[in-house]
Symmetry: C2
Subunit: 201 residues, 2 copies
């Protein structure tokens, strides 16, 4: 049996990744969302074990010590990490895994799993994204400036992704990602030797 | 403007490539079939300038001498060649080009155009293909044996193709190839620098 696909999705804050990812998951029954760990506080509507495993700093550091993460990153204020148990077992069993990671996490995973498929979700334009962030009205001027700087910095990583898709209409963007995942399954580099006459089984 | 995609399709004789290719062309308005040159005689239903440019041996050799081919191969009895004019201009103008080539021609094109996309169309099984060839009843025993040997030999090239798709139902096989072409357009490696926020335009 062919191994599962490891799909990494990144995108700027505010680009609408969450909606797109849910649509992709709904479209592909063999695709499972890999839940990451974080020490940041849950946002309204977020559920432990669904969006993230929300851990205390000491809990997170215990898992680091035990080698439970395939990769983790530390931002200015928080840890983010990917549990080995969320990836290796399912992928070996033929399940496709979708991970949402920032550009640092995505780069870490690409080094560890060179055959993973990385997709960056882009806004229709930088101006549209800025307008969307400003329009929310929830950001302080300082916070907005920080986000825009982050977007600028993150955009330099886009060329390292395998694919870039623009999110104009969420459903169309999701369809493109579904198409990418289906096509990647047809790559001869992912077929077992015995699959030569029916490689997508 | 992004360059056009160069798509190469190969597959065993009798696998139903022709039907699949026509469906792919019908689905993608920006995809144009590249007509190859050959010195073999037209088969019933084949039209000069549509299926092939049918040339005499001396006409073919004149084009070789003039450097009009990007690649050509000589089988036991015939020449097959790809005209430079069928590829370079259209691709530069942003048109996607689809070529049907045997395994030798496909390998030649992959060397010359490393970013081309190569797809091998497989039968559901070797047995199914053999049954289909036998069932036709049009082949002498000698000819059938030669075809099966050729299939055996060609199958060794499949792992060198980017993708392998199985033709069980022609429409589904065509949909997969359409999906591959659409996804390949979303690769960051094919985007222009300026396209960074809307790479598929």
């Amino acid at each position: 049996m062919a191994k599962g696909l490891l799909v990494v999705i990144s995108g700027f804050s505010g680009v609408g990744k969450g909606t797109v990812i849910q649509m992709v998951l709904d479209a592909l029954p063999n695709l499972r969302f890999s839940v990451s760990c974080t020490t940041r506080a849950p946002r309204p509507g977020e559920t432990d074990g669904v969006n993230y495993y929300f851990l205390s700093e000491s809990e997170f550091e215990e898992k680091i010590a035990k080698g439970e993460f395939v990769e983790y990153t530390r931002t200015f204020t928080n840890y983010y990490g990917t549990l080995r148990s969320e990836i290796d077992g399912p992928v070996a069993a033929g399940v496709d895994i979708l991970m949402e990671l920032n550009v640092v996490g995505a780069a870490n995973i690409k080094k560890l799993y060179p055959y993973c498929v990385t997709v960056f979700v882009c806004p229709p334009s930088y101006e549209a994204l800025k307008a969307r962030l400003v329009g929310r009205g929830t950001e302080s001027e300082e916070s907005l400036r920080r986000r825009l700087n982050e977007i600028e910095a993150e955009s330099r990583s886009i060329p390292y992704y395998d694919y870039a898709v623009t999110n104009v209409v969420a459903k169309e963007c999701a369809d493109k990602i579904v198409g990418i995942i289906n096509s990647e399954h047809l790559r001869t580099s992912r077929a077992d030797d015995l699959d030569i006459f029916h490689p997508e089984d």
